[in-house]
């Protein structure tokens, strides 16, 4: 089976986020002054094979923990859904 996994990688709340704060002040200077805070993160979309959902999810969790996120400063979240065919996986991405 083929799955589409979304991995959301964010900085731990206590960690400084220069990127986020610079984007925020940028938005303010353009007039988007209702923005209180911006936190920046990574968004990864994986297409992955797996015998079943549990197995695929376990693999993605493992990758996120070991490679995709930096445990010292980042947290991550995983969302996973089956994909009918590789083709439609392509569509979903768009």
């Amino acid at each position: 089976m083929i799955f589409r996994a979304e991995v959301f990688v964010t900085l731990k709340p206590v960690v400084n986020d220069p990127q986020g704060s610079t984007i925020r002040s940028g938005l303010h200077s353009i007039g988007f002054d209702t923005v209180r805070e911006v936190r920046s993160g990574k968004y990864l979309v994986l297409t992955i094979e797996g015998a079943d959902e549990a197995i695929a999810r376990a693999r993605v969790e493992e990758m996120a923990r070991e490679v995709l996120a930096n445990p010292v400063i980042e947290d991550y979240r995983v969302r996973l859904e089956p994909v009918a065919t590789a083709a439609s996986a392509g569509e979903r991405r768009a």
Partner: protein, 233 residues
């Protein structure tokens, strides 16, 4: 040639451009603050390299909204000469003054090294001092210089003769090996339809003195001076 060198927060090639224009070519220049809208005394606007606003969102994404960029757009509209170098190129694309976008280098690494550029158009205001096909040695220094444009845009760039520089071998051949960042069709610099706004990833201001390894970059500034009817030095 009165040159205006735009300074965004995070710009760092401003002083190098000033050195090339002011010290090496002995032309008058002034720095233009990103909040400044006055360009009436300027013949050539340079958007220098650097990391405007840290390049934190996207290179040039925030700089594009600064007051000076409104003025630069109007200046370009009046036919004024605009040269965007590295981050300046990225800003011009974000401001839609030039087509396409610059992605992360294919290597996903920053690259600072001398490259060879083939001059594809010898008749732009920035290249009249070069022969078409001439090879210039000029350094690059960027992490996101991987030129991209969708197919129709790319086709019209090629058809309209808007591709001004391509990465090439020392012998002038366009090869994958000579492409330092994965740019489509080895594109290193493009000019707008009207032919007065040039964007390029390489740093000509770093190639203006043999002491620093080469002076091929002078050709661009000298061409601009010629275009502006300044007696060439």
């Amino acid at each position: 040639m009165r040159t205006g060198i735009v300074v965004f927060p995070g710009t760092w090639s401003d002083r190098d451009c000033a050195h090339a224009v002011g010290e090496v070519l002995e032309q008058p220049y002034r720095f233009i603050d990103h909040r400044d809208r006055r360009l009436d005394d300027i013949d050539l606007v340079i958007l220098p390299g650097g990391f405007s606003y840290g390049d934190y969102l996207r290179c040039g994404a925030i700089a594009r909204f600064t007051p000076v960029m409104e003025a630069v757009a109007a200046f370009a509209d009046r036919g004024g000469l605009v040269l965007g170098i590295c981050n300046g190129f990225q800003v011009l694309q974000e401001a839609r003054l030039l087509p396409g976008a610059l992605l992360k280098n294919a290597s996903c690494e920053f690259r600072c090294e001398w490259v060879n550029l083939r001059v594809e158009q010898g008749d732009t205001p920035f290249t009249t001092d070069c022969r078409p096909g001439q090879v210039l040695r000029i350094p690059i220094s960027h992490g996101e210089g991987n030129f991209f444009a969708d197919e129709p845009t790319l086709a019209s760039l090629e058809a309209g003769g808007q591709v001004v520089f391509r990465y090439c071998t020392a012998g002038g051949r366009i090869t994958e090996g000579a492409n330092p960042n994965g740019s489509l069709a080895n594109i290193a610099g493009v000019i707008n339809k009207r032919g007065n706004v040039l964007g390029m990833m390489p740093h000509p201001e770093r190639a203006c003195e043999d002491l620093l390894g080469g002076s091929d970059g002078l050709a661009l500034f000298r061409s601009a001076m010629r275009a502006l009817q300044v007696v060439a030095v």
